[in-house]
């Protein structure tokens, strides 16, 4: 998105469903419940939706499946699949479609029953032919190798990685919607079962069910809805590879580019951001994205997160809902970064509500650090 589209669309509804375990429900059931929750939040009906933005883990034509399930006939759909970043990416296409008059009510929606369906990652994507023979465990082996390289180049420690998980849990502790809310110490993380060196099971995101949805409209009518509008001030994507073996620098992600362009479109800098919601599939993600988005220098992410600095009461509020590490992670987490950022701005965050948030950042990651999408959201005051 360029600066021309700054503030042209607004989130007027958010919703979620099936957090934790959604027994007896299919992924599309959870998707539909999430859609109803977000539309209810916006005071709209499914029949108002004419733009649908959706992808799911289990199908190659998920937007069509979702439209059919919901009983709607959208005049604009986007089912671009870039992994968990897809739902942040849809902020760009939804804003473009709304601005161009291609639709009037855009629904971004996702649902998964990953936990109760099998407890494993349900995916329609095939392992890459030149990696599959070596049996990497997707996606953890990829992130483990990025973490190993970060430790090698910058001296990042396992203790620093663990502190990311500890901080996420500390936020989740205050969030009644979060799946894992019990105490978690650095020692718990370090002593947990190693799954892919240097990452233990506590360095990895949860496996839960859950869905989320977001309703967007053009900014000119955004104040006609029950909740305070949250404007999309900037959003940008950058895609660098698909297979981890093709990643050029394991310690630098395309978030550097997506972030710079999102900030430029929004006309703000990292220092202006009051709430930061990052896709933390693994503890290394948070460190990489804080560096690449400019919250600290490259290589300093480990020290930056150490000892509660991104926990409640720390220097920077990161993943205020508990993130994918402790709140919810149903296969793809991206949409929840946007929902939590929007709720922090609206003032109805489910856990710790930060004071007077006007600017928040949501960052989506897809594939194996492959697709990076950054969005800057703002209150009415930021227009």
């Amino acid at each position: 998105m360029t600066a021309e589209l700054r503030g042209k669309s607004a989130i007027v509804g958010t919703g979620h469903a099936g957090f934790g375990e959604a027994h007896g429900l299919t992924a599309y059931d959870v998707m539909a419940q999430s859609a109803l929750a977000a539309l209810g939040d916006a005071g709209l009906n499914l029949s108002d939706v004419d733009g649908l933005f959706c992808t799911m883990m289990e199908d190659s034509m998920p937007a069509l499946m979702a439209a059919e399930y919901l009983g709607i006939q959208p005049r604009f759909i986007d089912g671009t699949m870039s992994g968990g970043s897809s739902f942040v990416n849809y902020l760009t296409s939804a804003t473009m479609a709304l601005d161009a008059g291609l639709c009037d009510v855009a629904l971004i929606v996702y649902g998964s029953n990953q936990r109760t369906a099998s407890g494993r990652l349900v995916t329609a994507s095939r392992p890459p032919a030149y990696e599959a023979p070596y049996n990497p465990r997707y996606p953890i082996s990829a992130y483990a190798m990025a973490a190993a390289r970060h430790m090698h180049e910058y001296g990042t420690t396992r203790e620093q990685l663990a502190d990311v998980a500890v901080a996420a849990r500390a936020w989740a502790h205050h969030n009644p919607e979060a799946f894992e809310r019990g105490p978690l110490t650095r020692e718990d993380v370090l002593g947990a079962r190693m799954v892919g060196d240097p990452l233990t099971v506590r360095d990895c995101c949860l496996v839960t069910d859950g869905g989320g949805a977001i309703v967007l409209v053009r900014a000119d009518r955004a104040r006609d809805f029950p909740k305070a509008p949250v404007y999309v001030l900037g959003s940008a994507a950058e895609s660098s590879h698909r297979q981890i073996s093709q990643m050029k620098e394991f310690t630098v992600t395309a978030a550097r580019d997506s972030g710079a362009r999102a900030f430029a479109a929004a006309g703000v800098t990292a220092a202006d951001i009051q709430a930061i919601e990052l896709y933390d599939a693994f503890t290394i993600n948070t460190i990489l994205f804080l560096e690449d988005l400019g919250f600290c220098a490259k290589g300093e992410g480990g020290a930056f997160v150490e000892g509660g600095r991104i926990a409640p009461g720390g220097v920077l509020p990161v993943n205020t809902n508990g993130g994918g590490l402790s709140c919810v992670h149903p296969g793809m987490y991206g949409i929840f970064t946007v929902i939590e950022a929007a709720r922090q701005i609206r003032g109805d965050a489910p856990g710790i509500q930060l004071k007077d948030v006007d600017l928040a950042l949501a960052h989506g990651n897809g594939g194996v650090l492959s697709s990076q999408v950054t969005a800057i959201l703002g209150s009415q005051n930021t227009l």
Binding site: A129, Y130, E131, A132, P133, Y134, N135, P136, R137, S141, A144, M145, A146, A148, R149, H152, R193, M194, V195, G196, D197, P198, Q243, I244, S245, Q246, F250
Partner: protein
């Protein structure tokens, strides 16, 4: 031409003969991997095949933890070959946790998942 071979077939066919061939761009001179019909660096389409030196270094590595009854832990790594290309593989002949970043390794054609595959061992000396 029914007997024409695509890049994937050329690479895999060489492996079945115990050879490691790498695609090289005739326009810019750079190697690439995985095999393709074009050069991802300059986008030229004139590709030739060269015998790999087999020399490389571990760029990054992990141990996939697996229960002993399912076969135990194993190594997964990304090796950068002297030709400048990277490939996923594993280092054999040492414990999976002993594989280290920057370790010098040498390629050989072994077997993975029942098919010929490029594997590595620590370089001697």
């Amino acid at each position: 031409m029914p007997d024409a071979k695509g890049p994937d077939q050329i690479f895999q066919g060489a492996l079945t003969k115990g050879e490691i061939l790498l695609p090289k761009c005739e326009d810019c001179g750079a190697y690439h991997f995985f095999p393709r019909v074009l050069c991802p660096h300059c986008h030229g389409a004139a590709i030739s095949w060269k015998q790999a030196t087999g020399k490389g270094r571990v760029h990054t590595t992990t141990v996939v933890r697996r229960k002993p009854e399912w076969g135990g832990d194993y190594n997964v790594c990304v090796v950068e070959l002297d030709e400048g290309v990277r490939m996923m593989s594993r280092v054999e002949g040492i414990a999976p946790g002993e594989v280290a970043i920057d370790m010098a390794v040498t390629a050989f054609v072994g077997e993975a998942e029942g098919a010929p595959a490029v594997l590595f061992k620590p370089s001697e000396g």
